[in-house]
Symmetry: C2
């Protein structure tokens, strides 16, 4: 069952309260910064004449997905069936599961969702990388058609491995084999190629990112030619993330960008050297935390790695007032240890601090809500609270 939707967020008791009223630790969104990032992305896509499909695995909030759609996103992509269900339950009509699903009971959920979205005038997509996956998906769509007595078509993307080394068939003839297999099933529409190079996102130098995506481009082109040689058009190539998107946008090959992190920008993405073509996205997601213990050497705050993910490094300490120059060291599940730069002073007991998480996606997944603040982190007011609808939506 998908979780209930994010209706009436304005009724949250925090709305209208000053930033000081937000208990710690909490995940806070600087709405002004988020909206500037959203506008930068929309402008970038318009300028390049490219579609963008925001990756909702990052924010997991249907309300934020709808903000993105209103700004020009064609819809969202997600990685899990349960995330797709949560987005659809929250009113998102165009959802793409950019990942493989092979369990028959889960494909039954996928097929039911495809029929539900089609009935509402929406659409569902999914990625495949095996003949077995295609046959099982077709069987599930057939079952759902019989059960609902309404026809629906699901968009099926063939995933090719363009350098990530994870899912996807190798570039080349395997892609054509799968495209032809998809076309044998009337309820499946061959929608194009899923081509995402995850590792390229975090390569620091723009020149190296360009070189990696240039190699991916050759692999995509080769696969497209082989598919087209079978008389099958490739309607779309979809992929890219916040790190490499300027390369895919400039390629003339990708027709759709799947960036997600640009909206919140985490500490790890900020470590990338910015390509001059890249919009200047800014940090919009913060962990509000408080100092709960002090000693001569350090201070301890109440946010550890149950408050923020550390798979891509520890958080940075943000200093909206420029007062403290602090380094965050790992203090375990519930604590962070703060050390001052030489000459700087340690924060006092009770002091409120702001952390920029190392990786936004798994950080958001630790929280039930995102507290949206207008007017800055120091003197702002809570304007709305986003429910993390797909938090823990693992299946």
């Amino acid at each position: 069952m998908p979780p209930p939707t994010n209706a009436q967020p304005e009724t949250h008791p925090l709305v209208g309260q000053p930033v000081a009223a937000i208990d710690t630790p909490a995940l806070v969104v600087d709405l002004d910064a988020m909206e500037r990032n959203l506008q930068r992305m929309a402008e970038f896509a318009r300028k390049h004449g490219i579609r963008w499909r925001a990756h909702a695995k990052m924010h997991k909030s249907a309300a934020i997905a709808l903000l993105q759609v209103r700004s020009g996103a064609v819809g969202v992509c997600v990685q899990k069936t349960a995330e797709a269900e949560a987005m659809a339950a929250g009113g998102v009509l165009d959802v793409y599961i950019s990942n493989e699903v092979v369990a028959p009971h889960k494909l039954a959920r996928v097929a039911r969702l495809a029929h539900r979205l089609a009935a509402d005038g929406g659409r569902l997509g999914i990625a495949v990388d095996s003949l077995e996956g295609i046959e099982r998906l077709a069987a599930a769509m057939n079952e759902a058609r019989l059960a609902t007595r309404t026809p629906a078509v699901i968009d099926v993307y063939v995933e090719i491995d363009v350098g990530q080394g994870r899912c996807g068939v190798p570039p080349g003839p395997a892609g054509a084999t799968l495209a032809l297999a998809i076309r044998r099933h009337p309820a499946l529409r061959f929608a194009g190629l899923q081509a995402y190079h995850g590792r390229a996102q975090h390569v620091r130098s723009p020149a190296e990112r360009r070189a990696l995506i240039a190699r991916s481009s050759e692999q995509v082109l080769l696969t497209c030619r082989l598919i087209e040689a079978e008389g099958v058009p490739v309607p779309l190539v979809t992929g890219a993330g916040t790190g490499s998107m300027v390369c895919e946008a400039a390629s003339g090959i990708w027709g759709e960008l799947q960036a997600g992190s640009f909206l919140f920008m985490d500490a790890d993405y900020a470590r990338n050297e910015r390509d001059p073509a890249q919009p200047a996205f800014e940090h919009a997601l913060f962990v509000k935390t408080q100092v709960v213990s002090t000693c001569a050497q350090h201070a301890v705050c109440d946010a550890g790695h149950k408050s923020h993910a550390i798979d891509s490094g520890l958080p940075l300490v943000h200093a909206p007032d420029g007062e403290h120059v602090l380094e965050y060291a790992n203090g375990g599940d519930e604590h962070g240890i703060l050390r001052a730069a030489p000459g700087a002073r340690l924060p006092e007991l009770g002091r409120l601090l702001w952390l920029v998480p190392g990786h936004c996606d798994p950080t958001v997944n630790l929280h039930d809500q995102l507290v949206g603040v207008r007017g800055g982190l120091l003197r702002g007011t809570v304007e709305r609270v986003f429910r993390v609808d797909a938090r823990g939506a693992l299946t």
Copy 2:
């Protein structure tokens, strides 16, 4: 507001189903192994004549806490006020927040909970490491007494830093100063010392762990002597974890063990060389996952670091049938990459696999439920489902 309690877990639709019915990824508890671990801990504590207070920051489930209390635990400890509220709401009567709380609005919650538990015949404890923390706690207890018109006393432990390098005053006179300050407030009872050496838990060699806790013991003794020199008895020294507990139990200084991980045993604790005095705890917590993609070099499963925490290393692939010898490599938020040992074969598409998480505490915190299986991971049946009551209980 604390989450609702774990009433009638037997009504969960998975109960009575075979293991095959558990969707992936899911967190599964081998109930037979868990109960053996529980019994080993109870026997260990009995043999050493020492109290044990299970750390519920690990399992976050009131139902599991009650199982531990029925096996002889005096109660639970937790790290967060919201965890304490969740445990109390689930029927646990003796709760200790082994951590510092300094925010006045949070101390108001602590004080209300102390009064609620006292009214039910239970008790609440908390750690302090500053005069300001003590004064604020006393003020909150006073407010709660006026509001509830019932007297209550909270157990207050002075935390000393015995090697962890995090919270706590240095061993020595600072501890005596805090003990005396606590005794000036009638609603605060000086309950003893909190002395936990977190880093010692994961030191691999038993001899090195013994050396670290021997040093901690001297520091505790020194502090006890200084407090007692002020005419103040030290009722209890509490601390220790699964890694070092045999040392604290043998010391004659600690009167209470706070081990938590022994119940589930994660991959990181299993990397410790076992002290001969340590009970042979076994893995009882697993992520059930499925292979969703395969290629010549590797297989990909549907559990990434949104399914299990990786702060203490990647999960191990458990082979209940001994068939697959696989290594798990990081595949990002939603994927794991499985590589076969030389000569071993890769698992096929759709194959179900079991992972032993690197660190149980933050892994449990990613899930809403723990699926309890009786009769083994291969042919067992779901007997009960534990709600993770304090999942995301960060404040």
